[in-house]
Assembly symmetry: D2
Homo-oligomer: 344 residues x 4
């Protein structure tokens, strides 16, 4: 039976990706679209400037957009995906949770809150039980689950695969696509024939979120993984797909072949949007490349390549599609996990 | 009095930069241009497909190109700049050295040879005395000096500034411009909306050349610096200017302010092509950027920015123009040092 | 029943597109792959550097590549698609025709030969009967059909729709993608932050091929359409999709609405690779755009937009995917027409 | 003796170009910088986000920005350059004119007003005498001169050179750089791997402004040139430099050589910012190219190339730097003409 879902902030870039991913979804049926007051009351096709490279689905085009308020979203909606700007989300998400909605949110607020599960289903599905703690502490009927930042998601599956070798120190440098800043986030004058060595707040997100994702959960709280993560974030003139260069110090010996095997064999999860294999490992050291590899597994697979030994561990590159695996697809996958685990 | 110079491999991309830099040079007078046999005998303007963004100098346009052979370059030429492909240079440079020419070479062969000085004048001018060792061992009348790879030069001045704080481990990831691969090196289909996480041989060059440049010289040999350098090299859709993200572990405490001061105060050198200040440090954490900052100091200054503390030291970004400070300008500066130190 | 097909020049950029388009084709079964002698005998995955953004089909990856010679292609192959360089095609295609093969060729040689049909199935399918003339004159058992150049195909469907209003003079300027020059055709140094106002031979192709495509066929020869076509061709930093600005003088009055209707209603054709509608007309004057619209109709639909009246007719923009509708897909569609019309 | 000048709208992209061009100007001394109320009272370096690739001049960095109001600009300023948005300019420029200032404006308002001279000094310096008419009609003490739109300026010098052959009909298609839309005008998501076939209002500007520039002036009014100009405007992923493909019908016979000679010999003007030669004509049909040729004549020279005969005249390409010759430099040159002609 279909689960009725809504999108909070449906007109933006990530909102449009949600609509694209939910078209023909086997479980979710799109039943509500919210946006700011200026758009409320309009048909979706009037409210949104559609920029995704597949046509807007006909039935969605005609749907009426409502305000981002619990009173405007129908009672028969079971799950909300949120792609609101984090400042807006910080104000509005609690209203939906008090009203009893389950929210799978891509917004960055509250990701590090002790009682909010931050999950990648293949990595730490068990953290979802933080919802019990959350309900106790906040008195909410609903439930709030977050997915990490796009640059964090790209790296963490590979780090999880390395953890069996004693993950110790990590140095990661990102080459991030412009879509990560939203449709209007990076001007052409800023980025053509250029690169920008700074993305506000991004490094701290990578350094903290990754340790929560890899942390252990004892039923009451998540203990951050004790690896030291150092991140340097750069924007480059690429449309989609974050490429990252990782150096990982390992406590135990592991050859590049061991590491490749650990990545390839890292278990996936049986959910509709999950790729068959979580991490694809290239033999060709010139891969992964953003344009060629971002759509592997319909944009949900992570790729790695160029694995080489260093004095203290390994270095390699990894890649994921930042607005699919790194944003809208991440929230949808968390939504599927919520259904699978019986929270909806 | 003018020093008469020649360019080995004058028609290629770096060769053209040499011509641009030598136009109106206060010391050097361009007297010989060599190229492959196919070009020998032609006027330079016929032999080269000129692609630099300043017009080809009139007198150079009419000069006859000769073969890359000592018998074709006049005896009255005192110094040769080499931008030959390394496989060609490995064969041809010894001929010129036996014939008594002084060669300042940008080609990558022999950079790590124990008796070949690898120099950046501001960093290790004293290594030039390896020429004595070289002459003893090889029996050459001439002298061979190398400058490091473009990606190495971008980083090493900043590492040299950090060395007073006990430089220990370095993790560097590069975002390199397409011009580093030569004019035809990267196709547009390969790099538009893309990035390539591999540049053949580049990582090893950075990891070894940097330790030689920072090494100590006792008059007989260079002891490599004992820092561990780990490099990951990427190509991005930028025309000129390599941007690098560096993490440096330091043995001693140093705040970002200490590091910024050490970089700003790192001594320059009094040579015609040297910038007044070797390293410009930006306060603005979104700088340096390749397009905005590569031409600082006429392309000879290194920039740094985004200096932040890490658990074991600092992280920061640095930038240099890869075909000026990182190639042709590097060789010219070494040539100026050779004159200054009396080797010519 | 499946028609067995081969690809002449299967390892190049267009050859790879052929393989992508023929995977899961309802009528064609790929049975032969040819390449230069250097590749003959290798498995396809070894011979080709695969650069298309979908994985190489497993069965094709293992196929053995043979030389581009009739003796090497099996007798049981019914139809050959050719994406050979035109100089090679001019030498080799006649051998295949003498040997009795039917060849649907994308190569530019012989497109304007009086006895060679140059066809776009929706525009001038009836020209296919030139094959009778061709066989009479050349004594071939086989048959040679050509599709036009990518820049011609982009424009001609819209001109065909205008012809009812008395197409008179045409001025067209192209903004062409780099893939039109082949994978290695345009270097990144040539085109990033740049445009090139010249593509060798392209303007003449547009000016002549379009008049043959729109010409009338009396069963014996094609009379060129008497419109005057003036073309100016430019390369821009876009990967795929040629955008063209057209000014068309019309003998009769036609409003932009008349023209839009004529384009929308222009009849398609019932062939497997043909789009439902040949020309999509946008209301939004900022469309079509290469990245957003090149994949309409799986890359086989032409788009138009920005239709406005001029003193003597109309101006508008049009777009098509240059390596699908403009190359490999064009040949496949001609192949489907050959089957449909009973030539195979 | 120096003429003291001010810039209206000094913090924007064109405003920054004005500052760059006025640094070390032989005649003009920069004495006033205006911006919106939000910036008034700040030092220029605080008010403007400096993005030009030369450092901000030290003395300008410290200058105080004032409001865009005649009462705030000193009486000792003789000439104002305006780069205000046209809607703001339409409101504010009259205030300055009533207050007696001479204004050389790049803003698009009033360009086609019958009593406002629209001038390119090399083309129609004599139109400046419209100032007499303007003063009569408007009762202003000051004087308002406009320069045309960047896309118009690129083409008009070449059309002026053709006029001796009876310029009749023109079809022009532009490939315009993103800087033409201002620093934030085109997002990276809009233009990377893309092109946009529409620039609001641009085609009409080219079609009308060019006829005014080429029109004849009888001392009382300008009669528009009777050529028919048809324009189609496109945005491409280029930073600076508009490239245009022109088809010109000519009443008289003129070979490509005649046309090239007419362009080369078109007279320049003796003003400080004017190039020695107005139009550079390339023999190489692959030129002009934006990145290679936009800085010819310090960005003030127009380039042409690819001249070929058509049935009714010629076709060719032309190029100019859109924010120098096409904007700030155009206003500065008009300012120099105002001084030369004694209006200041």
């Amino acid at each position: 039976m279909a689960v009725r879902v809504g999108i909070l902030g449906a007109t933006g870039a990530v909102g449009q990706r949600f609509i694209q991913l939910l078209e023909d979804h086997p479980v979710f049926e799109l039943a509500a679209l919210t946006a700011s007051e200026a758009s409320a009351g309009k048909q979706y096709k009037e409210a949104a400037k559609w920029r995704v490279n597949t046509p807007i689905p006909d039935d969605i085009a005609e749907m009426e957009v409502v305000g981002t308020d619990p009173s405007e979203v129908g009672d028969d909606v079971d799950l909300l995906f949120s792609s609101l700007p984090s400042s807006v989300a910080a104000e509005v998400e609690p209203d939906f949770l008090e009203a009893g909605y389950v929210v799978s949110s891509n917004s960055s607020n509250d990701r590090m809150a002790p009682d909010v599960p931050l999950t990648i289903p293949e990595i730490n599905a068990e953290h979802l039980d933080l919802i019990e703690v959350q309900r106790d502490e906040r008195g909410w009927d609903g439930a709030l689950v977050k997915n990490p930042n796009c640059s964090t998601i790209t790296m963490v599956p590979t780090l999880a695969a390395l953890d069996q070798f004693g993950l110790d120190r990590v140095h990661v440098t990102t080459l991030q696509a412009v879509s990560g800043a939203g449709y209007d986030g990076v001007t052409s004058m800023e980025i053509i024939d250029n690169a920008i060595p700074h993305i506000g707040g991004e490094e701290e997100k990578m350094e903290t979120e990754s340790r929560k994702l890899l942390g252990s959960f004892d039923g009451a709280e998540v203990a951050l993984h004790d690896a030291e993560v150092n991140a340097s974030c750069n924007r480059i003139p690429t449309l989609d797909g974050h490429l990252e260069s990782v150096f990982a110090d390992l406590a135990e010996d592991a050859t590049p072949d061991d590491v490749a095997a650990a990545m390839r064999e890292f278990p996936g999860i049986d959910l509709p949007s999950a790729p068959d294999q979580l991490i694809h490992v290239f033999e060709d050291s010139s891969r992964p490349q953003p344009r060629l590899d971002r759509m592997r597994g319909d944009g949900m697979q992570v790729s790695a390549g160029g694995i080489q030994a260093t004095a203290n561990g390994v270095k390699y590159n990894c890649l994921a599609h930042n607005t699919i695996r790194g944003a809208a697809g991440a929230s949808v996958l968390n939504g599927e996990l919520l259904v699978e685990e019986g929270w909806i």
